[in-house]
Point group: C2
Chain length 276, copies 2
Amino acid sequence: MKMFNKVVIIGTGLIGGSLGLALRKQRLAGWVIGLSRHQKNARFAKKIGAIDSIGASLEVVADADLVILATPINTIIDLASRIAKKLKKDCIVIDVGSTKERIVSKLSALIPNFLGCHPLAGSEKKGIANLDGSIFKGSLCIITPTVKTNHHALNKVKLLWKKLGAGVVILSAKKHDFVLALTSHLPHAVAFSLISSIPDQCLGLSSSGLRDTTRISSSDAHLWSEIFLSNRSNLLTALAIFQTKLTILKLALESKNKRQLTKILLLANKKREKLG
Amino acid sequence: MKMFNKVVIIGTGLIGGSLGLALRKQRLAGWVIGLSRHQKNARFAKKIGAIDSIGASLEVVADADLVILATPINTIIDLASRIAKKLKKDCIVIDVGSTKERIVSKLSALIPNFLGCHPLAGSEKKGIANLDGSIFKGSLCIITPTVKTNHHALNKVKLLWKKLGAGVVILSAKKHDFVLALTSHLPHAVAFSLISSIPDQCLGLSSSGLRDTTRISSSDAHLWSEIFLSNRSNLLTALAIFQTKLTILKLALESKNKRQLTKILLLANKKREKLG
């Protein structure tokens, strides 16, 4: 069943392109138009069937039923102000940015049927070569409505993510940014710092532990410096919590307190078990 | 080709049991005897074919050609002093502990043909249910001889690991402990502290990033508090290096210095790429 007649995806990178593939494969859209700053990416997206056609300019949003903003965070806000006045009255607009408070505050003021979304389905493998319509299956998507959000639009966006195979969680943008600072932005900051700590000449003597722990330090540097800065205050809080935990472990080590050290590691074991 | 007639493995956990499986499968040993503090583990090892028989007491080392000490670090040192006088003159003894300086210093004084070994093939999946004779294939094993090490014994131990599929690296025990503090013990300390920083109610909203970054925080708490303490000074140095890197990232974030922040992340990207 087609949920939307005309869909416009702005930004055909990993998430935008994968959404195109999934929408087309499941016939949820009548026509998918893609736009990208990089013509090469748009052409690739068309070639592999992630979009039906390449949009010539932002004017294509004029008769769209759904617009998906899948660019880096700062571009999302800029794009929204450029397309707001061109949209049909009932057009739904979603973004897929990794932080939500600033985006939701700006975009919900500009676009009546805007909904902030954050599919937890990214990957350190950036770019078009990794487009995959199935990355949303079994993943979670956080939707961040406001008190003013249109219920019909919210229900339609919820249904869209469910049809793509994602579980839907509703959070305020503020809560989203606090939680993600801990569960996503902090692990990235830690992984970037950890790999930076290893001298080149030691890298050859690593086992799978270092490899796994630093996998996400391959994530796009430009994208992540934007994410970090857009959630700066929450991330600084998360870093302070982490530094305290590290100091507690360090103190047990310094004082050769084996009982205390083992207790810290046992509690970590238990918490990790809950993560599954 | 049998390399050893009688092999005794003390400690039939993940590494000891997996070594037994590999030795028997490749017919590198005439007879493999296993001992464990936990009779259940020894019986399981026998049942799955990791050992030919269960040793009744430490007396079984008397006519062994190879003794493998595969227990936690503190027990290795204790065991060595108990078996040293029972061994044949040309019996080779190896351990598989994760830190080497203390073990090598004590054991090379007690046992003429002792060689410290550290196969980088562990796993956070502790215990006998995960025994796997193929875990050494494609892995690295660090051997830590001293100036007094018998060359014949060293060559035989090198050949043993190569036959098990591992690449062999020769390092001094001191260098080993310094390098492993950075490439293994630090990532573990970071992973334990990271998972401890995440409030329970946030765990449900994690993506694969947190999962990978904290995988090794499932590692055995008792084993790892011993490893941390046995390499205390090097690990404290490694933690200090890491804390400095984290502080540099934090300062760029605090001062909203996007250029500096991106530069830090780009350097991390490059270093991670070298890890492969």
